[in-house]
Symmetry: C3
Subunit: 377 residues, 3 copies
């Protein structure tokens, strides 16, 4: 699988640290973050000192369990709160990690919402973080709601939702869909950390000016005050793989706070209490707006390029002149007419005009109906 070998499949049934009284002082059944992800099986009695060498804590946040993994080095360990760690005052502990590592499968899920063409928009969310809410139950949830919403409408593009473990899952998918990825994927979004109340952050694809990048700039610029557009960097979520130079797919990353961007990140503090329904709702609305722009984008030619056409005689322009409140739709028509020279798509025009894509699309439709616009070849 490219440069990678899928590691053995890991299953975990139980894990605990017991004190001399036989009480579980750390218990996997209480929180599944308590086990270092991918821990090999272990059972035995250890001195407190030896045990602590296998423990991970967050001294600065003594109430939180850290999220730690060791996929590629065989070891075992526990993640616990600093308070739990400090309470390991007995000389010895019984320790058990009841896990198995062996042949298995790398699972990922796909949900395909067919559109009029086989050109694809891919939407990808990582599913490998146990019990973490913003990172990334929120992304999974948003992807599901978007899939549901797109099922109800007719779309130009086929939407492929990919739910896979981070890194290895995206690499597996790309490995198994290499030709398809290069030939069919027109646009894409990674969804992550979309449930908290931070302003939006859109991280551009490696290309920086792909239609999805321009659509995201437009939507967040007009509809989500305080949003940030960041250039691509080769660290973060699975854009690392989709935007590797051999693929260089036009896939951006749609987030609110983003990786490392909030104190609860990668700890037991990233739980449902961090999510807000209205924040998830805004994420849903703005992601749909980006899709709306991608769906409705197109490049047209003004059939009447010498001076403005007379919109009024076609019922497209206000009858009373001199007003200072020219309607947005009239402005949108003037923008579309002036810049429909074959070199600007509707997303480009909306960005220039700083008008919502829907207004530009509606203007283009009115002008197409009036014969003042034709599709550019």
């Amino acid at each position: 699988m490219f440069d990678w070998t899928i590691p053995d499949e890991w299953s975990i049934r139980d894990a605990w640290i017991k004190n001399a009284a036989g009480e579980r002082v750390v218990d996997f059944r209480e929180h599944n973050l308590h086990v270092l992800g991918y821990s090999e099986p272990f059972q035995g009695r250890l001195s407190a000192e030896d045990l602590k060498a296998h423990c991970y804590t967050l001294p600065d946040h003594p109430d939180r369990i850290p999220y730690r993994t060791s996929y590629y080095k065989r070891q075992w360990g526990f993640c616990l709160t600093q308070h739990q760690y400090d309470a390991l005052t007995e000389p010895e502990y019984d320790v058990c990690i009841d896990s198995t590592l062996g042949p298995g499968v790398l699972d990922y899920a796909q949900c395909v919402v067919p559109g009029a063409t086989s050109d694809e928009v891919i939407v990808s969310a990582h599913v490998c973080h146990p019990s973490l809410a913003n990172d990334n139950l929120s992304g999974i949830t948003l992807a599901m709601q978007l899939a549901r919403a797109l099922t109800d409408i007719e779309t130009r593009y086929t939407y492929r939702f990919i739910f896979a473990p981070g890194t290895i899952g995206a690499i597996a998918w790309l490995s198994e869909h290499q030709a398809q990825a290069k030939e069919r994927v027109r646009h894409g979004l990674i969804l992550a950390c979309v449930g908290d109340t931070a302003p939006f952050t859109y991280k551009q694809s490696r290309r920086g000016d792909a239609p999805v990048d321009r659509a995201a700039s437009l939507v967040l610029g007009l509809h989500a005050e305080g949003s940030t557009i960041k250039p691509f960097s080769p660290y973060g979520y699975d854009e690392r793989q989709y935007c590797s130079p051999g693929f260089d797919l036009p896939v951006g990353c749609f987030m609110r706070s983003g990786p490392g961007g909030y104190p609860e990140y990668h700890t037991s503090g990233d739980n449902l209490g961090l999510l807000r329904p209205h924040a998830l709702g805004e994420s849903f609305t703005n992601a749909l707006r980006i899709f709306e722009a991608l769906e409705g984008d197109g490049t047209y030619l003004n059939t009447n390029p010498h001076c403005e056409p007379q919109l009024g005689k076609r019922g497209l322009y206000s009858a009373v002149g001199g007003r200072t409140d020219t309607r947005a739709v009239e402005m949108a028509m003037l923008w579309v007419l002036n810049y429909s020279d074959g070199g600007n798509s509707l997303i480009d025009i909306a960005l220039r005009a700083q008008l919502p894509f829907a207004a530009i699309r509606a203007a283009a439709d009115a002008l197409l109906d009036a014969g003042l616009l034709v599709a550019a070849e």
Copy 2:
């Protein structure tokens, strides 16, 4: 005429609203804004309620008469102050609009100041706003003064001043001069709202980097603190037509406050009281500076491109070295020499150096005289 049909010619002789006592409570002879522009003729007695359906006011500025027109929908109406409107308390009024609509001509005026070549600079001002001062008696006045000033000097370009009604007039001119516009027009300026005391605003041509755009940036940047350079947008004055994609002429718009940019815009408040002689004077000076840069622009080659030439032996450089107040003319010569590689015009060099165009032009002349510069082919 491209997509347009010139509408019937409108003449207005008189108009009034009379009360039961036969007194004119609204009187066209008092202010010609009182009639909705292009009103069809009407005579009759109406209930106050029916009359008010034909009235336009500005509730937020109860002392001002709005400027309203209806060129392309046949109707009649009155524009009045909110106070006049509120005083229409009698049950009925006699109403008269003594206008005619019929075959006629669309007039526009041109004033051509010939230059050494048939390459043209067009200067355009709209003339369709009755009784409005800043928008656009100021533009008409400035155009006239510029024409007068250019008559007295020898110019490279032929200057064509166009005085025409907004939109329809510019469209008519372009329709009747289509080939000439495309072949001869090298630069152009729309003049509007140039008599108030707002800082200058220059709106770029659709090209964005035409010589007139760069000349205006240079002049306003150096000589008019607080000026704003705005990108093209397909709304405003007749740049809408000159910069339509079929023409895409290098025509910018030279303004102070601009359309909609002051509270009196399109009302009876836009009267001579709004204009200031020194503001008109500054507009004149800066417009001439833009023309000066366009006239004097050129691209040259440094005949001595390896190291600096020795300016001192030619009397072009200060004899005493070590001073910190190097003369601007020496700096200008160094800029012209270094960047006269065929790829930069004098306007480009002035922009880089942030030196007045006159200083750069004087430096180039001195260097040409000394044989250190030749015209690039």
Copy 3:
């Protein structure tokens, strides 16, 4: 010598102004700035008024002697403090300038530190300012220390240090090394005013985006807070000659305060008291960092461009995942892998990543060792 003739060689042995009592009231032996540079010989008795026509002072800084020269106009003069000038109250003075002007040579020094290739980095410092410390004993000193440091290490480039009088010396060098300059010089730095405590200023080469320009931006941006990057201008030090359009060499100017940028500039106040050892040391360190980036730059190809390679199995990636303190070296490897597509050099990648060049170079070396990178052709 291009457009220039080397003037006669000037030697100065003594100079003074004596009062009636025969006392030297201005004495070249006390400060060599007291003579107008390149003064022709003169001896005689003058009225105070006639003498003062030959005197240069700084009324705003009455304690400082100005630095003035007259290379290309034969004259004589004295530079004195305003206090000395004001004390010239006797009716007559005896004056002597014991100088000679005659055939001679224009000397400049070169120090060449050979590297693995004959491609050259030139480092140039002007040596014509008598007794001035920051401008430019500091540049001379820094050049010497850099030459010494480079002698001790193996370099790719041959480093040529040029010590020459400003303007005429650089012109002489370029005149005598014209082909070499065009064929061999890959990068270059002018060093001047590097001993004061002002933040760094790097003035770009005329090209603006030469590797040395990008290396300087990287180094000063990351390692020298408050630094300024200025675009090229055809005034300043000998970049005026190296960057004349016929040569257009990739030579920038590395300074702290720069010409005219401090009150003591070109006066007797620019003495050793203005220099600070730690400031010179920082200049040394950052100049070396620029050379380090130029030496280590290169363009590579990721041999595994589809998705990330598995760094962990090669020991290049941390074993425990989930941490938020990803090591800089891992980040650097991800940047190098993603952007090593043949279109970005390591300096480009370091600028994108905003990581020290050394980290990017170390990452590239690790990836080359692992076979994950090859040199681009």
